[in-house]
């Protein structure tokens, strides 16, 4: 029997290795898997590369993880926001390497990893500083930059509803990076507010099919990121 539901946060995050590339879903404070991030801090893996659209605000969730000093590198589109104090501290102290990636390229690179592609040509950032050192080429009279897939060892994703096969739905715009990150990581770990019977999610309404999900932990009252 397929049962991806695990009993504890510890089990959900066991064997996350030092040096892992960790994809963390969310945009602003929406869709951030706060409890999984706390679980990862508890778990203790270090020398991590974190891929996340923002760098957290205040000192919770992504910011809290950065503050542990266990993140070597951040791959991110918009790390500096109001309240991104931990990121700014770590960055100016030279304790955090930053790879700045345009948001659509960030998402598309993870999708390329999920889709088994070797790379793609995008017009985004062509001719700018963020394309420096990258291969570019003219295609039909327009300049494109070659971007490579970005694969995660682990993805941390917040879902609204899950069944034991790993089928997921998401809550409103908390969906954001969740589906792409789940598909782009070798180990997709999901926190779900509600666990439902197999078959309770209508086949046409599944947002992330279970094939992309490895472990589910039930977090019935998830914290919204950015709240104390």
């Amino acid at each position: 029997m397929i049962n991806k539901l695990v009993a504890s946060m510890a089990e959900a995050l066991k064997d996350v290795k030092d040096g892992s590339v960790v994809l963390i879903a969310g945009f602003g404070n929406s869709g951030i898997p706060v409890e999984l991030i706390d679980g990862l801090i508890e778990q203790g893996a270090k020398d991590l590369t974190v891929v996340s659209n923002n760098a957290g605000s205040g000192r919770t969730d992504v910011a809290k993880l950065l503050g542990t000093g266990r993140v070597r590198k951040l791959v991110c589109s918009y790390p500096r926001t109001s309240g991104s104090v931990v990121f700014e501290e770590m960055y100016s102290a030279g304790k955090l390497e930053l790879e700045l990636v345009p948001q659509g390229t960030l998402s598309e690179r993870m999708r390329a990893a999920a889709a088994g592609l070797g790379g793609f040509y995008t017009p985004t950032a062509a001719g700018t500083k963020l394309a420096e050192g990258k291969e570019s080429r003219m295609i039909d009279g327009r300049e494109y930059v070659l971007e490579k897939p970005l694969k995660g060892d682990v993805a941390l994703v917040k879902a609204e509803r899950a069944d034991r096969w790993g089928n997921l739905t998401f809550r409103l715009a908390a969906r954001n990076f969740g589906p792409t990150m789940a598909a782009a990581a070798d180990l997709a770990v999901v926190q779900a507010r509600e666990i439902v019977e197999l078959g309770a999610i209508e086949p046409e309404l599944v947002v992330t099919p279970g094939i992309f999900v490895d472990r589910i932990v039930h977090v019935p009252t998830p914290k919204q990121a950015g709240t104390p």
Binding site: F27, G28, N29, S30, G31, N53, S77, Y78, P79, R80, T81, F87, E88, Y91, S92, L98, L100, V101, P102, Q103, G104, T105, S107, E108, M110, R111, T122, P123, T124, A125, A126, G127, T128, K129, L130, R171, L172, A173, A174, R175, N176, F177, G178, P179, T180, V207, Q224
Partner: protein, 220 residues
């Protein structure tokens, strides 16, 4: 002379949106535009985080923390709204499906070059977000911004000194002081903040402006 408020800049820009336009709203002043739909028109506002059909801000104290815009402010949904994941959202943006992107800017050049992600100061951590995707992918880019920096330096310049977001993409500027078109023959001021003289406007602008023959005061 402070000219238009942020809300008035947004209201003025909204007035130019045509019925049926699909318009991405970037961070900053552009986010406010969702509050100003011209009477009798339907505008489909897009937010990069996976929302099409953004409505006005919710009443104070209401709203859902999982319904936010690019500026991370609370939004509502219009009837006809749809939710999708980030990669699909940027299919819309990069693929030319967005009619207009309304963006903020640090600098805009005479040729429509846009700089809005970095001052080039190595000590200041940069943040790009969806700006480069929008600049490369939207069918048109309009900029909404304060006319000058807080210390009064011009943001409209002959040539951007900050790292570029994209070249030759901005078609129109809405500032607290004016509405300015980027044309092949240069920048043309079409509307001036009420009470502002063209000489004053030129004085706060780092590139040569022409005044349109049919210029008028900004009306909001």
């Amino acid at each position: 002379m402070t000219g238009l408020s942020r809300e008035d800049i947004a209201r003025r820009a909204a007035a130019d949106l045509w019925d049926g336009a699909v318009v991405n709203l970037g961070i900053g002043v552009p986010s406010l535009v969702a509050n100003y739909v011209p009477a009798g028109r339907e505008i489909v506002y897009h937010s990069e985080n996976g929302v099409l059909g953004v409505g006005p801000s919710p009443e104070a104290g209401k709203g859902d923390p999982d319904l936010i815009n690019a500026s991370k402010q609370l939004i509502t949904l219009m009837p006809g709204a749809s939710i999708f994941h980030h990669t699909d959202s940027f299919v819309m943006i990069r693929g030319g499906h967005i009619d207009l992107a309304l963006l903020g800017a640090m600098q805009v050049s005479v040729e429509g070059d846009l700089a809005n992600w970095s001052t080039g100061d190595e000590k200041m951590p940069p943040a790009v977000g969806g700006a480069m995707d929008l600049a490369a992918g939207a069918r048109g880019v309009y900029v909404l911004m304060e006319h000058t920096t807080k210390d009064g330096s011009p943001k409209i310049v002959e040539r951007c000194t900050y790292p570029l977001t994209a070249k030759r993409v901005v078609k129109r500027l809405y500032t607290n002081l004016a509405v300015i078109d980027v044309t092949p023959s240069g920048l043309v001021a079409r509307e001036l903040a009420p009470g502002l003289s063209f000489a004053e406007l030129q004085g706060k602008t780092g590139a040569k402006l022409d005044l349109a023959n049919d210029w008028k005061p900004v009306s909001v």
